[in-house]
Each structure stands twice: as C-alpha cells, then as structure tokens.
C-alpha cells in the first residue's frame, strides 16, 4: 500500500432527520437501523465508515439499493453533509472548507458521473463537455478544444453539435464521462454510472473505462449494485450493507474468503472461472512437480481450463513476466470453482 491514501474516510456517520446529532449517541451505543427508525424516526444512512482510497486505483463500493452507497459517494464532495466523521482528500479536511473552498475542490479536484447522466438539456454535447472548464472561468476557445479532444477520445467525434436528447443512453453517458474527463481532476466519482444502460453497452462502457484508466491513472470511486461489474473494475472492493462496511479488500480475496453470509449469498452466483485469477489460487513452487506448461499470474481460471483441455491431473508453472512465482495444481483450480471453499488456498 502506498504512503498516503488519496481519499480517506474516518468514522463517517450519516443520519437523516432533524436532530441527527442527538440520536447519533444512540447509534454509537449500538442501536440498529430498524430500532432507530421505530423509536426516533430517524433513518440511519451510514455508520462508522472507514475507507482508504488509494491514488490511481479504482475503488468500487458495492451494495444493494438502500445500503447507503449513493449517500457515501455524495459525502466525498459534500453534496450531502455528514452527521459526524472526517473526510480527507490529499490530507486536507473537506469538512473544514468554507463555501468557496468547497466550490474550489469540486471544480479542481473531483468530477462526477451520474446514473441519470444529468446533462444540461439546453446545451449541445460540446457545451456540456466544456462545462466544467467554463465554470472555472477558463478561456472559451481552450475549453472548446479540450471538449472536442475528450469527445473524440470517448468515441463521439462528429456529435459535437447534437443535443443530449438526440443521443441514445449509452452515448449520453459517454458525454457524461467526457465531461468528467475534461474537468481533468485526479478524482472521478462515478455514481452507478452504467446501471441505467443495457448489458451489452454496459460491457462496452466498462471496457472503455478500463482502457482510459490504463492511460490516465485517475483515482476512481465507482458505485454499483452489480457484483460482476464490481469484480471486473475493482482494485479495492468495499461491500456495504445497511450503511455499514461488511468487508473490504482485494476483490479476489473477498470472493475466495467471504466473511459474512450476506457476501456468501452475493458471490455464490458469480462465474468464478472467469473472475478468479491464477494468482489467487496458486501454491508455492515445489521443484519435484512436472509442469505441463507455463501460465501468467494474471490469466483467468477459465483460460487455464481451456489450455489444459479439461485435464485435472496436471500442474502448471506460474510466471510473473519471466520469473516463476508459483505453481498451480489443476485439482486446486477445480476446488476453487466451488463456492465457500475453505480458506487454505486463498491469499488476502
């Protein structure tokens, strides 16, 4: 882990209601969400959230609807005010900022992509894309050039003068992403950015995001309710339930080692062969074994199965680049495909 996380959330609480600060004591004393609603008529949004988001990584926050994930992302730029807790961006306390300071951080440090796109319907695609720069008061001609550049990058060259209503949902979200990229901020907040799109386009957009990320190394905070999407994108996965973090860590680790029945239910429907990587199930090198071939640490188990042709009696040497780092017995691979495996083969 790197020295300073880009974004840190410390003991973050959010309670919706008029006297949230008063009922906070009850929550800290252990009152449940249902009791809080029944006895005090306040809704518990988030409780005791501690998450570190590293620079250049995609942190995915996953949970079902009502788990507080959209509430959580809106705390990072204080679209929602927390009841208690600290929000640190580059070590700077967002809670201590004045109104102007907050506007500054929204303009220069964070950009946001929305589930419902939230484009300005009366502006053209190009004007929408240039909006974050125009808000900062930059030279309109330069803004325009920047907007055209990013529109081309997300595959919308030629649509500059269309209005959002003339585009399909997928294209509108590309504009949303182009808008966030034009802002040229280190941090991108994506609130269920692909949830409103149909499955094929969603896959396209996920690929586009990963491709852009390879090049730009932004700190992305991505909200989703879809585990497949979360596993595909995440460097760091945070699972929320009823406003609390149930488990967080490297996605492969969570998949192999769910620490809560809630997560077990979640991961049981996953195509594990496609999601799990060789790295997560390999064992230490042992010179006595005969290797049937070499595989890369980043290969998926699915790929390995097709290489082996379904043979389970073999073992493969695992290479990281050129150096051998471990070996994989096909029997371990098959075991890893069954949900709720014992923790012996997993690494966190």
């Amino acid at each position: 882990m790197t020295a300073q996380p880009k974004v840190r959330l410390r003991n973050l609480y959010k309670i919706f209601g008029p006297i949230d600060k008063t009922v906070l004591e009850h929550v800290k004393a252990g009152m449940s969400k249902d009791d809080l609603l029944a006895q005090h008529n306040h809704v518990l949004g988030l409780q005791d959230i501690n998450v570190d988001m590293q620079a250049g990584e995609i942190t995915v926050v996953m949970g079902l609807s009502g788990s507080g994930k959209s509430t959580l992302i809106r705390h990072l730029n204080r679209l929602i005010e927390p009841t208690a807790g600290e929000i640190l961006v580059d070590g700077e306390d967002v809670m201590a900022l004045s109104k102007d300071g907050l506007r500054g951080i929204r303009q220069n440090k964070m950009s946001m992509v929305f589930q419902k796109f939230a484009l300005l319907p009366h502006r053209t695609v190009q004007q929408n894309t240039a909006m974050p720069l125009l808000v900062r008061g930059e030279d309109p001609a330069a803004c325009e050039a920047e907007a055209v550049k990013w529109l081309e990058r997300v595959g919308l060259a030629g649509y500059e003068n269309h209005y959002p209503a003339q585009l399909s949902g997928g294209m509108q979200q590309r504009v949303g992403i182009a808008r966030a990229l034009t802002a040229n901020t280190d941090i991108m907040l994506m609130d269920e950015a692909f949830s409103a799109l149909d499955p094929l386009i969603r896959t396209d957009m996920q690929d586009l995001l990963l491709e852009l990320q390879k090049e730009l190394h932004k700190t992305i905070i991505f909200i989703t309710h879809d585990l497949d999407e979360a596993l595909k994108l995440a460097d760091h996965l945070v699972i929320l339930k009823d406003g609390a973090v149930v488990q967080q860590g490297e996605p492969q680790g969570i998949l192999l080692n769910p620490n809560d029945p809630y997560i077990e239910d979640f991961v049981s429907d996953i195509n594990r062969a496609r999601v799990l990587r060789v790295k997560s199930v390999m064992g230490p090198l042992d010179d006595t074994t005969q290797y049937a071939g070499d595989v890369d640490v980043g290969d998926s188990l699915e790929k390995l199965i097709s290489i082996s042709g379904g043979e389970t009696g073999q073992a493969y040497r695992v290479l990281d680049g050129e150096t051998p780092v471990g070996q994989l017995d096909m029997r371990d691979l098959v075991k890893a495909l069954v949900p709720r495996v014992s923790s012996s083969k997993a690494e966190d």
């Binding site: 679209l79 951080i105 929305f114 796109f117 484009l119 009366h122 808000v135 959002p164 907040l189």
Partner: protein, 344 residues
C-alpha cells in the same frame, strides 16, 4: 320593545347601554319609519339573528353595521395623505411610461407602425401563418377605423406586461429560493387573483386622481403580474434535481446555476406565465376604461351605457382579435423556446 332587551337586562348591562345616545347615521328604513311615524321594528322577524343592528335596537352602546363601514371609510381617508405622499412619487414613472407609450403609438404613422408590428411578430414567432394573421387583423381593425383605439390598448398592454415581467420574474426567482418567502407570498397572490376586478379600482380611486394614467396602470399590473410570478417560481422549482446536483458537483456558484441552468430550463414555464400575463392585462384594460383608460374598452363602455349595440360589438370583436394576435405570437414564441430545449 326589541327582542334582545331581556338579554341585556339579565346581564345587568342596562346602565352601560343607556349611557350612549346613538349618533349613527339613520338607515333608510329608520328614515322611512320616522317620516311615516311608525315603529320600524314592528315588521321585524320573531327571532332575529343577534346581529349588530338588532342588538343596537336594545342597547344603544352597541355599534351598528353602518358604523363599521363608515369606520373603514374614515380610516382609509385618514391614511390617504400619508399613503399618497409615499405612493405618488413612487408610481409617477408609471404615468410617464403609459403617457409616453400612448403618445408614441399615436404619433408613429400607420405605414411605419403596421410593418413594425408585423416584423416583431415574425421575429418572435418565426411562423408564416401567425405573421400573416397578425398583418391581416391589424389591417382589418384599421379598415374599420379602429386603428387608433386598438393602438392605445396595445400600448397600455405593452407597458403593463413589460413592467409585470420586470417585477414578476425577480419576485418568482426569490420565491423559488426561499420556502418561507413562498409561503408568505402565495396568499397575497391568491388574493390578487380572486379579488373581483372591480374591487381593485375602489382603493385606487381614493388614492389617485382619475385623470392620472397610473391609476389604471397599477390596477392592470396588480391583476396581471400574478401568473408570471407563479410560473417563474414553479418553473425553477421543477428543474430536474439531477441536473442541479450535477451543477453543484462541478462547483457552479449560485449565480452560474441561476443564469446557466435554472433560468434556461425554466424558460418555457416563464414564457407560459408571460402569455397569461398578457391575456390578463387585456382583460383588465377593458374594465380599466371605467377609470379613464383609453382604447377599445371605451367603445365597449359606450356600447353599454348608450345602448349602442353595434359600437359595443365591433369594439368587442376588436378586443378578441387583439387577444388572439397576442396569444398566438406569444405561444409561437413559447413553442420555439421549447424546441431548442428538446433540441430537434
């Protein structure tokens, strides 16, 4: 004796009642009774409602209803000098504007005015049909020698609508930003909208001289400003929350939000409010002819007063024509605004 005598007696109020001899003005019934030498109360109902007048018959210290209306009138007259000294200079520019507009519309010759109006309607509506209809209607009015009165009506509407928009849009914006201001303003708007149009004129006649044009100007503006305020407020409140959230997330200041997002997206609603404002000022300008507003309304009034049926009907049709012109042009402008919003 009167019905409620017993009540005052049992309450032990006889002394208090006897103190004041009534000095209220006589009612017509009392006057007739005095003249005829009969007892007025003889014809009264067996069990009257304990109203002020009936209680007064048993006890002189209770005021009569006529004292109440007289009190209101006296109060108004007493407050008049102070109110007038504040309102008169404040509203004087309205008189100048109305007189100026009337002068301008009359002094510009028809061969400049008609093409100008047609050009304006083309610019606003960008619709051939509407523009041709406007040209046809104005020429028709001019052909039957109603050009001058129609222009007077039009000039009053231009001034009053313009001022209504200038005042109404900022008020609407302020209302959309503050719930407490909205709660305070809505009853006033309801009152302005439900007051019978003639009632507007009563306090104004007391305050200002009937010869001043601001008298009818104020009446028209008070009546017509309501829809533009309401729809500005509504339009801004109806702007998509997601879009506002995006504007916040990218750090727009409230000024940037208002000019760049809220007003453009509320524009179709604001335009609908302006359309209603124009229609309502046209309705009021006819009634305002009772207090010396010039224009087509005067002819309608003449039709009623002198039973000149034809004069009244022609003027009425002229008003309808003006109404249709103004409505079509402003609606066409509205739909044009809506089009750019959808972007087709």
């Amino acid at each position: 004796m009167a019905f409620y005598d017993g009540v005052f007696k049992t309450l032990g109020l006889e002394d208090w009642c006897g103190e004041a001899a009534s000095n209220a003005p006589l009612s017509m019934a009392d006057l007739l009774a005095k003249a005829g030498g009969e007892k007025a109360e003889a014809a009264g109902p067996i069990f009257p409602f304990p109203s002020l007048d009936h209680l007064n018959k048993s006890c002189d210290s209770v005021i009569q209803t006529r004292d109440l209306t007289k009190g209101i009138e006296d109060g108004f007259l007493a407050a008049k000098p102070a109110l007038k000294s504040v309102l008169d200079p404040l509203t004087q520019p309205l008189s100048w504007m109305l007189d100026g507009a009337l002068y301008l519309f009359n002094v510009v010759p028809w061969f400049i005015m008609i093409p100008l109006l047609v050009a304006i309607s083309w610019y606003a509506s960008r619709s051939k049909g509407v523009t041709i209809f406007v040209a046809f209607s104005i020429c028709l009015l001019a052909f039957i020698d109603h050009y001058d009165v129609a222009m007077q009506t039009l000039s009053i509407i231009f001034v009053c609508t313009g001022i209504s928009v200038l005042l109404g849009v900022p008020i609407g914006i302020a209302m959309s930003r503050s719930d407490s201001l909205q709660r305070a303003t809505v009853p006033v708007l309801d009152l302005l909208q439900t007051l019978p149009t003639f009632v507007y004129l009563i306090p104004l006649i007391f305050l200002f001289s009937v010869t001043e044009s601001k008298l009818y100007g104020i009446a028209i503006i008070l009546y017509a400003i309501v829809p533009v305020i309401r729809l500005t407020d509504l339009g801004i409140r109806l702007v998509d929350r997601d879009v506002i959230e995006a504007a916040n997330a990218f750090g727009m200041s409230s000024r940037q939000k208002l000019i760049g997002v809220q007003l453009p997206l509320a524009l179709p609603n604001i335009m609908a409010g302006i359309n209603q404002t124009i229609m309502m000022s046209l309705a009021m300008v006819v009634i305002a002819s009772l207090v010396s507003a010039p224009g087509l309304g005067v002819n309608v009034l003449r039709g009623i007063r002198n039973l000149e049926l034809g004069v009244g009907i022609v003027a009425g049709v002229g008003i309808v024509l003006l109404a249709v012109i103004l409505d079509r042009v402003s609606k066409a402008a509205l739909s044009r605004v809506d089009m750019t919003r959808v972007g087709h």
